[in-house]
Amino acid sequence: MLIFTAAVLSMPIWLDPIGANYPDLLQKFAIFGIFAIGYNILFGLTGYLSFGHAVFLGVGSYTAVWSFKLLTMNVIPAMFFSILMAGIIAAGIGYVSLRRSGIYFSILTLAFAQMFYNLAYSVLMPITNGETGLQLTMHDPRVIDVAFSREVPEGLPSTDFFGISMNGYSGFYFCAVMLILAFFIYLKIFRSPFGMKLKGIKSNQKRMKYIGSDTRPYLITAFVISGMFAGLAGSLMAVTDPLAGAERMQWTASGEVILMTILGGVGTVYGPLLGVGIIKYLENIFSSINESVLNNFFSFMPQWGESLLTSLTMPFVGEGWHLTLGLLFMLIVIFLPGGVMEGLQRIKDSIMNKKNIEESEATAKESSDG
């Protein structure tokens, strides 16, 4: 846990050499980290594959922006209400969807997600502001801010945590602290009797019932907790950029978190975070590489080799980063079904084996010498 805290807080330092040290990306790592570990509580522990988790992300964002508009620019109430709202909606969706399991559960959650997405563009227009997205305006009431007669700066105010503005690195550190807190709770759940029962449900739900556990409330609890994690992630998106749009609730956003979890390793503790790192890094760094960058990179080659390599690698970067991601995903699913974590485990095992063999050889030699 201590190592994890240190690793997260020092991200600006150790991510610098690979060019990932800018607040915008660091914030994304932290926010999607929360989203993915929350998702792993449901998918990793109970095995229920939800295709609609982006709903809670969207709900979290909208609630946070409304809190900024109506109450205060302070982020604490915004986060509180976001988690609460996401939890309530998750309870509703979970109550209905968890009547079914397997593919039917996935389809039900997908149906809910599409319903919310389309409602945001139609019936719920007054709440979501449709395609324009929900934004802060100059005439927002902000009753609490007004009551405490906080000075209103020129132009649109920015979100803050008791005076500390949530821009740039301070925004990242705030998200990082939230990630650490969320991770702590997540770790607690993984190592609790509750977490073990969820694993039991994943492994054999019938047996779980026949040893006296009512599996439905367990599943609903797991669903609500993971929805609340997503709500927190959604509110942090609004904290770092106070704008909420319905595209956050599209099914591709739900698909992304599934991708992240599988890429890193479903059901493992650190896997989802690794998945977030890989996907967000590819999305932000690979997509920004263009021809001149590649030319520079291959400039040690003779002229013909440089242009050849550039044209060969060009489809994989820039706009084509999805191709790289797709290939990587295929390779991992085929060769490492347990995700990157399985790969790391294999490397560790082979090193340990080598060590053991060396040690046993050494002792064998000693005994033969003696």
């Binding site: 709770i185 190592r191 009797p193 054999n204 779980m208 006296g212 009512d214």
Partner: protein
């Protein structure tokens, strides 16, 4: 007269036109091992499913411990009142270690049908772990407690399932063909295990094909044929009953 744990009264059940259970009346005495035998299609599994509430009978009543009605309860509620079941195909947790497999029933027994124990650490559950270790010791698999259960042999899986049921210390244990499909060596091991736990005084209902198993462990035997009980008695009485020989073995000597 010994106390009755499970009472089955006037139970009828038909599937379509087929009368699977025909006016079954049976009393299971506390502390006894009661075997139910009968040829294929006699209604043994149907009767067991009615006993655990998996099937609702058309008429009749099943009561537990002198009054608690079984019919209409959900599987976890039936477990809560003290009735545990071993399935015909072993129902274990294949992805978890043997220790976890046995810890889960112990946890479930203590926590009831639902408990949100998120902020408790598993490493503090020493009592549960000791219970689980004890159960693994009974079946002689303690040295493999960290093995993943899916890698066990079929016979070992069944014994693991038995340990999962025993750790809950149920009042009544139902075993659905605990040795079906096992090699002779495995069957003997399971018989030894069943004899060993017989001394604990737990009431058991065993459904079994293997006569060798039935006559080694049962105190009382009921014979089912075409949905009706044709005889109930001690193993010796059953062996001597000509009606049973006729129905079950076509007249051959037991």
């Amino acid at each position: 007269m010994a106390e009755t744990v499970l009472r089955i009264e006037n139970v009828n059940k038909s599937f379509g036109g087929l009368l699977a259970l025909n006016d079954i009346n049976l009393e299971i005495e506390r502390g006894k091992v009661h075997a139910i035998i009968g040829p294929n299609g006699a209604g043994k599994s149907t009767l067991l499913n009615v006993c655990v509430g998996l099937l609702a009978p058309d008429t009749g009543e099943v009561t537990f411990n002198g009054g608690e009605k079984i019919i209409g309860k959900k599987p976890h509620q039936i477990n809560q009142i003290g009735l545990t079941r071993v399935f015909q195909t072993p129902e274990i947790f294949p992805d978890l270690s043997l220790l976890e497999n046995v810890m889960l029933p112990a946890l479930s027994k203590r926590d009831g049908s639902y408990k949100m124990s998120i902020f408790k650490s598993l490493s503090d559950e020493e009592e549960i772990e000791n219970e689980a270790i004890g159960a693994l010791e009974t079946i002689g698999m303690l040295d493999r407690k960290d093995t993943i259960a899916s890698s066990l042999s079929r016979g070992d899986k069944r014994r693991l399932e038995l340990a999962m049921c025993l750790v809950q210390k149920p009042e009544l244990l139902l075993l659905d063909e605990p040795t079906a499909g096992m090699a002779r060596h495995d069957t003997n091991q399971t018989i030894e295990l069943l004899k060993q736990i017989k001394e604990g005084g737990m009431t058991k209902i065993i459904i079994e094909h293997d006569m060798h198993v039935v006559f080694s462990v049962a105190d009382k035997i009921s014979v089912l044929a075409r949905g009706a009980i044709i005889a109930t008695g001690t193993p010796d009485e059953i062996k001597a009953n000509p009606l049973v020989r006729e129905a079950y073995l076509g007249g051959a000597e037991l």
